[in-house]
């Protein structure tokens, strides 16, 4: 039987992959051909989607991007044998976009059936957990420390140190919490992974449970990700049935159970302490630290809270060794970073590379410049709290320390490209507008500062007393940076000030001319 592979990742579905799958199956039936359709996640080459891969002796041959009117001609060309066709891409592994990557966290995504434990194991899954089951908790933690893994959610805190703190906290109960509240615009790695390789997250959390002595975990997924929520929930049920979760992990005397929880539309719940309050059923208000969640987290118990991609990388580290992981990267940023390239770009997608690649390699070599064909004017790195960099700064390498030194941040690894039609004063205004809409309201600098920021930006954009208002803007940004309780208020000045620093011409508005009397 002929097997074809179609992605059911929600981005693939959003551009018609399921529709194409249906048309292909209908056309096959008309022609009397029997097909087996395997649903996978996405490989993350979204400009080629929707695409179909056909299993042949020479590997999976891809065709794309397919529009409904192409289906007939694909059959006419005998594409089910991997034959020539104008849309034939060959093996995706041979596409330079994929061949140049170092896929560790995303090694299986887009290849395996996301809802098959057998397929997961056949592609190296659960090797990490098997090893972890033979180790003492401290040895697991030491392996993570050795890997140099840092929190992929944005803060970049050393994961192993966090694990060590939870391991040594004394309590009758501890929890593992996965922060899958991926709210940053331009980021979609958590979503892709949960939809394409959910067992790697389950395995990572299970290992974390063994390491710190927790028997219960929660995955908090934003409600904007309905597909990811369903896939994770189904995968947990399958892993439980297969004995990879539950009272006896793989026949051992260790227990670990997992539940998914759905967010309810609040960006701030990506901040770990407000996420914990949300899990407890409260308003998602940021908590003052200390105490750290590692000491008093969910329901007051020691809680290990990590980002989706941090946890999903753990199985690879356990299976291959912390040192092997640490051999990738630069400086204090070890391992690989799943970069998400998005916005106005020709070839947007998921690019997993060792730390240290430059923005130019990503935006120009991988991305192929803007989708509109106009010059790149700005890239925003790290989500809505990240800086806007001009085209002249594209030679910056992507690592935590370099971007911080340039008054930016790496965040969750999202890069949004803008062409020369963007007005950075409007983007600066939006940064405040977003903060005003999504602030939890607990601290005044963020709650009030964001609203005042929108007002100041409106006056600057209107050309009203610019010098005075620039002074107010800078003062406001300093205050929000220094006095906000969490990163939401504390980092909103980053996009604002970077826009002002790198694109002053966009803020140089003509002074307002008083309207002539009627």
């Amino acid at each position: 039987m002929i097997r074809i592979f179609i992605s059911r990742d929600s981005a693939s579905v959003s551009v018609g992959s399921v529709r194409i799958a249906r048309l292909v199956c209908e056309e096959a039936a008309v022609r009397g051909l029997i097909l087996e359709t395997a649903l996978t996640g996405s490989r993350g080459l979204f400009w080629l989607e929707p695409l179909v891969e056909v299993e042949t002796p020479g590997g999976r041959i891809a065709y794309g991007p397919i529009s409904p009117s192409d289906v007939g001609s694909l059959f006419d060309a005998d594409f089910l044998t991997g034959a020539e066709h104008p849309l034939r891409l060959g093996r995706l592994e041979d596409q330079p976009y994929l061949a140049r990557q170092q896929r560790l966290t995303f090694t299986r995504c887009g290849i395996v059936d996301p809802l098959s434990v057998e397929d997961y194991e056949a592609h190296g899954g659960y090797a990490g957990l098997r090893r972890a089951l033979s180790l003492e908790p401290q040895a697991i933690v030491n392996e993570i420390k050795l890997s140099g893994l840092r929190g992929r959610g944005g803060a970049g805190f050393p994961t192993g140190i966090k694990w060590d703190t939870v391991l040594h906290a004394q309590a009758d109960r501890k929890y593992i919490v996965c922060n899958a509240d991926e709210g940053d615009s331009g980021t979609f790695g958590d979503r892709m992974l949960m939809e394409g390789d959910p067992f790697s997250l389950i395995e990572g959390m299970t290992i974390a449970g063994l390491a710190v002595g927790a028997a219960k975990g929660f995955i908090y997924i934003r409600s904007e990700y309905p597909y990811a929520y369903r896939t994770m929930t189904d995968a947990i049920a399958l892993a439980t049935k297969a004995g990879c979760l539950g009272p006896s992990l793989m026949g051992s005397d260790q227990a670990f159970t997992l539940e998914t929880r759905l967010g309810a539309g609040a960006y701030i719940c990506g901040e770990e302490t407000s996420l914990l309050d949300s899990l407890e059923g409260k308003r998602g208000m940021v908590r003052a630290k200390p105490p750290l969640p590692a000491i008093a987290g969910l329901f007051g118990k020691p809680t290990l809270i990590n980002n989706t991609l941090s946890l999903a990388t753990v199985p690879w580290i356990l299976a291959n060794g912390g040192q092997v992981y640490a051999d990738f990267g630069m400086g204090r940023s070890r391992g690989t970073l799943p970069i998400q390239l998005a916005g106005n770009v020709t070839r947007g997608g998921l690019i997993e590379l060792a730390f240290g690649a430059t923005l130019r390699e990503i935006v120009e070599d991988f991305g192929g410049g803007t989708a509109t064909g106009r010059p790149v004017k700005a890239v925003q790195v790290g989500g809505p709290l990240g800086a806007y960099f001009p085209a002249s700064m594209l030679d910056l390498p992507l690592d935590y320390e370099t971007l911080a030194a340039e008054k930016g941040l790496l965040g969750h690894g999202g890069i949004v490209v803008f062409d020369d039609s963007v007005d950075l004063s409007q983007q600066a205004r939006f940064a405040f507008e977003f903060c005003a809409a999504e602030s939890c309201g607990k601290c005044t600098p963020c709650r009030v500062g964001a609203v005042r920021g929108v007002e100041v930006m409106d006056r600057i954009i209107a050309g009203i007393e610019p010098e005075k208002n620039f002074e107010v803007l800078e003062d406001l940004c300093t205050l929000m940076t220094d006095a906000s309780l969490c990163a939401m208020g504390g980092l909103t000045p980053l996009p604002v000030m970077s826009a002002l620093t790198h694109f002053p011409e966009d803020f140089d508005k003509a002074p307002q001319v008083p309207a002539a009397a009627e």
């Binding site: 929600s10 981005a11 959003s14 979204f46 990811a228 759905l262």
Partner: protein, 158 residues
């Protein structure tokens, strides 16, 4: 989209009971009530509070904090348009403005025939296929004016 039921105290009690043993049951209960009734009516707040032995203020606080927990029913169809940066870079604001103008509504509004609610959302994770939307829970990427017009036409019927 299924027709959403009228408020039914008995059914609500069942939903609360079915989720009541979860650790941190409030959000799962509110989501389940939202699925059942299409919004969180005032009666639900009092009932959840009394069943969980919490104050009405606490439940009201939770409900009012989150964008999802709407207090009034939406239209028969819901279109969520992404308003975040990646979609801004691909002309999203213009497309959204045109649609809202055409429909004669603002963000969060429902067309006068009750057919379509249009909401803004900050990021759907479809940023490499911007601009993007979610129509009755189904993702839409590389959205343009034409596709949105088609959706609006289908939603509103003949």
């Amino acid at each position: 989209m299924p027709r959403l039921g009228e408020w039914d105290q008995g059914r609500a009690r069942e939903i609360i009971a079915a989720n009541g043993t979860l650790e941190g049951p409030v959000l799962p209960i509110l989501h389940a009530l939202l699925n059942e009734f299409g919004h969180i009516p005032e009666e639900a707040i009092a009932l959840v509070a009394s069943e969980l032995n919490l104050s009405r203020a606490e439940i009201h606080g939770t409900v009012s904090f989150y964008h999802d927990f709407r207090r009034q029913p939406a239209g028969r169809h819901v279109l969520k348009l992404c308003r975040a940066e990646a979609c801004q870079s691909m002309n999203g604001p213009r497309i959204a403005r045109d649609l809202l103008q055409e429909l004669g509504i603002d963000w969060g509004g429902t067309t006068s025939d009750g057919a379509l609610t249009v909401e803004g959302v900050y990021c759907l994770g479809l940023c490499a296929c911007a601009p993007s939307a979610l129509y009755d829970g189904e993702p839409m990427g590389r959205v343009d004016r034409e596709r949105l017009d088609t959706v609006a036409r289908e939603a509103r019927g003949p």
